[in-house]
Symmetry: C2
Subunit: 321 residues, 2 copies
């Protein structure tokens, strides 16, 4: 099942059930007005939305892509992991920081009151901040009790999403050095238009990982195409980590961190900072600049059959007016 959120002037938008070809949809109506409400009562919502998803295959209405917002335009909690070991190693080079202990998952809490829609221009204050993208996958859980095991956590993963975790690299290291995590370096993220249930991925969802290539284009040029399957920790382990000392509220979004593969010379990277690290390793100097205003970033996970289950993020970075 594939879900989306249409702009209707409200903060949470209108929940849509989307056809498998991504072009037709039906509203969740008064019963399931938005996705945040549905995920809070998923046991009731899921069967009704699945029923609607079968109806929409032969009916529904044409969906105008420009009306789609992030599937969750806001949620109560966003916890982003950094579960790709290759990304972690390269970021230490990019940042010039000491190695981080990765026996446990790495995770920070980011702002969740706003996720930009897939086509929305994204405003930043200055190019000097080192504007970077981070291509990721994420999962949305229902209510998860404190102390859940990874095995139990797997059953709480109700939806999968595709995220651009916008990052301001010039501001990152000073914040890391405080140990308090990032406030300035992590503004709001963006989401691809469709949230999908794990079953919609078939065997591309296994071991709590999304085994799909994430194609990333920067100003129309292919930048990376790494596969999501190479996570050091699966999403179920990230959820259990997040829930060690807290109950997770329904609608919590858990991110994978930047998708990265060991064979990065072939597949490229999912953020500029990583490419700069690779340049530092090979030539001692970073050559690729961060984003300029007006630059366009497209991110789209693609199946071997050429399907794009999450749709595409396709956005321009702009100067805040």
């Amino acid at each position: 099942m594939r879900l989306a959120t249409r702009d209707n002037g409200t903060p949470d938008g209108e929940l849509l059930v989307i056809s498998s070809d991504g072009v037709r949809g039906a509203s969740g109506g008064e019963r399931w007005p938005n996705l945040l409400a549905a995920i809070a009562d998923w046991a009731s919502a899921a069967p009704e939305l699945y029923a609607l998803s079968r109806e929409v295959e032969g009916g529904g209405e044409a969906i105008e892509p420009s009306t789609l917002r992030a599937p969750l335009p806001r949620s109560w909690q966003w916890l982003d992991g950094s579960a790709f070991a290759t990304h972690g190693r390269l970021m230490q080079v990019a940042f010039g920081t000491d190695p981080i202990d990765t026996a446990k998952p790495l995770m920070y809490q980011g702002l969740s009151d706003r996720f930009y829609g897939p086509l929305e221009p994204v405003p930043f204050r200055s190019e000097e901040d080192g504007i970077d993208f981070e291509g990721e996958f994420g999962v949305v859980v229902d209510a998860v009790p404190m102390g859940v095991t990874p095995e139990e956590a797997l059953g709480h993963i109700k939806l999968i999403v595709q995220i651009n975790d916008w990052s301001l690299r010039a501001l990152a290291v000073p914040e890391m050095k405080t140990g308090f995590g990032w406030i300035h370096a992590k503004p709001a993220c963006s989401m691809a238009p469709f949230a999908i249930t794990p079953d919609a991925l078939g065997d591309r969802w296994r071991e709590g990982r999304v085994h799909l290539d994430l194609a990333i284009d920067w100003n129309g040029v292919r930048f990376g195409n790494a596969n999501g399957g190479e996570m050091q920790f699966g999403f179920h382990e990230l959820v259990a980590h997040a829930a060690a000392t807290r109950d997770l509220v329904a609608g919590t979004i858990i991110g994978s961190g930047t998708v990265a593969n060991d064979n990065y010379p072939e597949v490229g990277s999912s953020c500029i900072s990583e490419r700069r690290a690779i340049e530092i390793i090979s030539t001692r100097q970073a050559a690729t600049a961060f984003l300029s205003f007006g630059d366009r970033v497209r991110m789209e996970a693609v199946t071997p059959d050429g399907e794009t289950p999450f749709g595409a993020i396709d956005q321009v970075a702009v100067r805040r007016g």
Copy 2:
């Protein structure tokens, strides 16, 4: 003006306007059903709630303290500073960490989907985690645009609250060392029952600081009575810091960090970790243990006239069932 939230079975509860003696109240009704809705439209809500607050002085209904939840039982964002330099210095001793650069405010993003009510037992998984309290003040803002100045930020501070930022000390240092901030070490906070407007504090609210003593009792024994006025950065500077690269959603709560004073030998501390640091400094060894299950913590800011504008947090730490 003083506001509270009464349990009505909904996640956000029912907004109450409270009399100046704290014992009578009136519901915000259908127009202002809860505080999160009111803060999102504060320009409209404030005059109507002020009018109600004048009515409630001579009327209203008796309020049962056990029905009161946190003024904001949940919100979209909780950003906690660490603005008391004395606390910072002592925590470096407690944690055995390197000095942190404090030219800018320190701040982390914590979980905001749940704030415990003032009398609610607070569940933890294990005493081994080093359960500690942190007595703080906080402010609630309306929508704050990115890039606001501290002077402009002052006008966005609509409410002041009193917070216990529960902390798990045994889990804190490994998380700090990752640079990602705290997930495990910072479970949900608690709030005193009343959120108050800055004008309700008179000259006790000045320079963006709460000039009140915060009395803290642990199992009935006075533990600390530090004054909130000694912040290195005022709340307006914390708000501006938080908004440097993000718009702040209405309802964002910004915390002061643990209240601490240079004359701690006289006034004591607002968390156990600080007292342990003082013990380490004087005897090389921490003697005071962290909380045991069943321990009671009371926190109450008191004016020189003996008034308690926020009411009291009075809670027991319990084993998660």
